[in-house]
Amino acid sequence: MSIHLPEPFQSWFLQQGWTPRPHQLAMLQAAEDGVSALLIAPTGGGKTLAGFLPSLIELAKGSYAEGGLHTIYVSPLKALSTNIAESLSRPIMEMGLPVRIEVRSGDTSAARRKRQQKNPPHILLTTPESLALLLSYPDAAEYFSTLRALIIDEVHALAGTKRGDQLALCASRLRTFAPAMRCSGLSATVAHPSAIAAWVSPTGHASGVRIVTAEDGVRPDVHVLLPDQRGYLPWAGRTGLGSATAILTAIAAARLTIVFVNSRAQAELLFQALWKDNTENLPIGLHHGSLDTTRRAKVEEAMAQGALRAVVATSSLDLGLDWGAVDQIIQVGAPKQISRLTQRIGRANHRMDEPSRALLAPANRFEVLECEAAREAVLRHELDGTPPRAGTFDVLAQHVLVTACAGPFFPDALYEEVRRTAPYSQLSRTDFDDIIRFVEDGGYALQAYDRHQRLFRDSVGQLWVRNEQIIRQFRMNIGTIVDTPLLRVKSRRGKTFGEIDEYFASTLVPGDTFLLGGELLEFLGMQDTTVQAARGRGKDPRVPVYGGNQLSISPGLARHVREILHAPSSWDVLPPSVRDWLTLQAKRSRLPEPDQLLVETFPHRGWHYLVAYTFEGRNAHQTLGLLLTKRLEDTGKGPLGFVANDYMVACWCVHPPGSITDLFSRTLLEGGLTEWLDESSMLRRTFRDVAIIAGLVERNYPGREKNRRQMTISSDLLYDVLRKYDPDHILLRATRLQAAEGLTDLARLSDMLERIQGHIEHVSLPHVSPLAVPVLLEQGREKIRGGEGEDYLLAEADRLYELAATP
């Protein structure tokens, strides 16, 4: 490579005992050539420095010392920005570079913001939300006009998400203000590099973006960790508590371990279980998204200082700098996706020349199969994951508001700008115009009332925001993260026990008991937006579920699991308890065979259950559950709900499900499907987020709830009215498109139905089979509301009251 580091960088690298890595020089060359670039490198490869070097070198030349923003760095994590500001300050100080770096996030004080506005730093480190907010100010065009570089960290984690859509739109806005700006994307190893390259491109297409790939690290060291003799491996369950003692032993054998789990609830439970057996008092910390920032920051600091031996973490530690010298990761529970597991293993890759050490601890017997399959796939360097999806309409609606806040705009120019982003490169003009109309006046069919528009058009066709109040309102709505609302849990006397998820609260009925902060509470009722509870007693308390996405197993990994299951000869790698379980299944029912669909029916808890072993992943199973319950409703079986996991789907009804062959016939996909999907709670949840992001309803801010309560209308009610009078409204289209993403295309299910015709194996059992246990204990049950099943239940309750009243 012809390019080399200029002074004083060359000497500084020497002083550190470093030689610039080839990918760092390649990024420098790309900047020199003025092209955008995508760097794909595993963790620990000096990726961040590679992104910043070109900017630092340019700034060192001094031509920018007079002020003006030179580089913007955007990462998905606030903490990452702070961390990078600190680690960059060392080379800047030691080389005496004339460079000022500042962080801007939601936590930045008003005074500091004002100063940054007046006197911008050379390098601004920020998040997608704060960048969007900056772009909503009237001086945005001037403020960003000097910009030369945009660095996007962890692109793989942003592309294909709503935050990513927002950032892509903001990047295009920045390019309009600063046409010379180049973009550098930093990414982990991904299955679709060119799709990610398109994402950092100024045109929305991968051509013209230089892809720089760093050399792979050493092959990792991956093993499956089973419970020791003090533990147990349950049939079902997601927590991995039975492996606590084995995990402790593994922690004791390493210097610093990250224990990755799949949910916040699991993190809390496992953390407690570890400390219960932690006789050596190993310092173990906890890190997840529901903990407050100061607590998380403390844990990160302790990690960096080497004061901890282990941290139990959710995806909150998936990304980021090396928080400390992590030399081992333990994945507790199903790995779900090979790429994500590879990235998590990479967290233990402190130095590229040492192998990462990883242990996979299954939480139940089914997960042993998944861990084993994932281990082999990681060692084969397999990657999974789908290319980023198209951008969503709700984020675009918000972006139109952001643009309008900064000043009047021409729709034609904005359309062109939006189409230069990868997520919206295929956006049709009709959809764009519908979005503009939504922002303008709601875009409703029922519209005779034309006062109170939000935007107005001037004589040359520019759109303006009607007044200052609306601008203030818009700015409050910026951001694409919609938190599941939490409700405070209080005693009748007003003592606060803690907070629970609104959705979980909505499933509680007076008399129910649940666990919160280690206490057993009885649900008394709701008062306004507070949950009333008292210390209670009773068995079977429910564990609060916190919202958040449940990751679906990737099709590739599901296929590997199916292969293990179908080949008893490969069971040698499985522990005896798992082999026993499968053998028992073969005896009590039967094992699913390749190219066959095993369906079991059995009575359970007073209902008629049906379990289908389809192995298509959770998303596809959600759709299948909807289809099956629709057919069951149409044929009068009174379905009450369904639940899916990655391997199977279960439905339950008040009446027996009838002929299984008829149920799974080709026609399953026909007739009134859209309407049934529209009714489902999945679509309703999707709509809620769409409504908030698009600015249809206001976000709830702490302290504002009280006076707003009168106005807050449940998004469910809005959804019903909108569906009735505006079935094709842009936000309903947005909702259906997004749900279709999550629910997996029907084509895949159609293929499956075709494949299984004539190969359906129906087993009628007296009770639940060993293989069906996991799905019956699965969380996230979907209920069928307002159907014949519920009518039947209401009538049954009524008959009991009549009976009681009869003398």
Binding site: D441, G442, Y444, L446, Q447, A448, Y449, R451, H452, R454, R466, Q469, I470, Q473, F474, S506, T507, L508, V509, P510, D512, L524, G525, M526, Q527, Q532, R605, G606, W607, L640, G641, L696, V697, E698, M711, I713, S714, L717, L718, D720, V721, L722, K724, Y725, D726, H729, K783, R785, E788, G789, E790, D791, L793, L794, A795, E796, A797, D798, Y801, E802
Partner: protein, 221 residues
């Protein structure tokens, strides 16, 4: 036409599917908490909610009027979301109101949202109304006179229940020995759970709750 007959203060009362009440003796239809114009009430602040709620609510009322052909239709207060709601009504909504007014006499009981008569709306306005032994008003009173019973709205009752493990939440009627609270009929009205202390004060002697399904009104508590 699904309904269930109950009795309060020797008066026959039909609970109707959908959440209204019919008094067969006087051929009177009673609805509560329509909140007409709620969807358009925040437009001045730049909040553009789907405006179909008023049409949707009026369609429900029209359906009930068609099915039961009442002599008198009583709206139990909070019929309009605010006193300016009348000005914001769309033409189609005004037409619907006129059609209803041509088919039955209209009586608007004032509520807390529409404490004063809303201008240009057909029908009479009163603070409360007596029909035989029944007193009809918006906010339930603390005590009901002996031998009388009260029909009121205001609280938007809902009930959460679990029947054989299946949890549901539904709008409901709440009945005590001398009063009945009607559910809210408006399409943008939320609900207050019957476990809320606001109910226990009114039903010291116990209460029962009724919800409706496709072809039956069921007592569920």
């Amino acid at each position: 036409m699904t309904f269930r007959e109950i009795e309060l203060a020797d008066e026959r009362i039909w609970l109707l599917a959908g959440g209204a009440v019919f008094l067969p003796e006087t051929q009177t239809l009673v609805v509560a908490d329509l909140h007409l114009g709620k969807g358009t009430s925040a437009r001045t602040r730049g909040l553009l909610l789907p405006p179909g709620d008023t049409v949707s609510t009026l369609e429900k009322v029209q359906r009930l009027v068609k099915d039961y052909k009442p002599q008198l239709l009583i709206a139990l207060g909070d019929s309009f979301h605010d006193v300016k709601a009348g000005e914001r009504l769309l033409n189609i909504e005004k037409t619907m109101l006129r059609t209803i007014a041509s088919q039955t006499s209209l009586l608007w009981i004032t509520g807390n949202h529409d404490a004063l008569p809303v201008p240009e709306i057909a029908g009479e306005w009163l603070e409360d109304y007596r029909s035989g032994n029944l007193i009809l008003r918006h906010i339930p009173s603390e005590t009901v006179p002996m031998g009388k019973a009260e029909l009121a709205g205001h609280l938007h009752p809902k009930i959460r229940m679990r029947i054989r493990g299946h949890a549901m939440s539904r709008s409901c009627f709440v009945k005590g020995p001398d009063r009945l609270i009607l559910p809210a009929l408006g399409s943008y009205t939320g609900g207050l759970d019957v476990s809320d202390p606001a109910f226990s004060g009114l039903f010291a002697d116990g209460s029962s709750a009724y919800v409706w399904g496709a072809d039956r009104i069921s007592r569920v508590a």
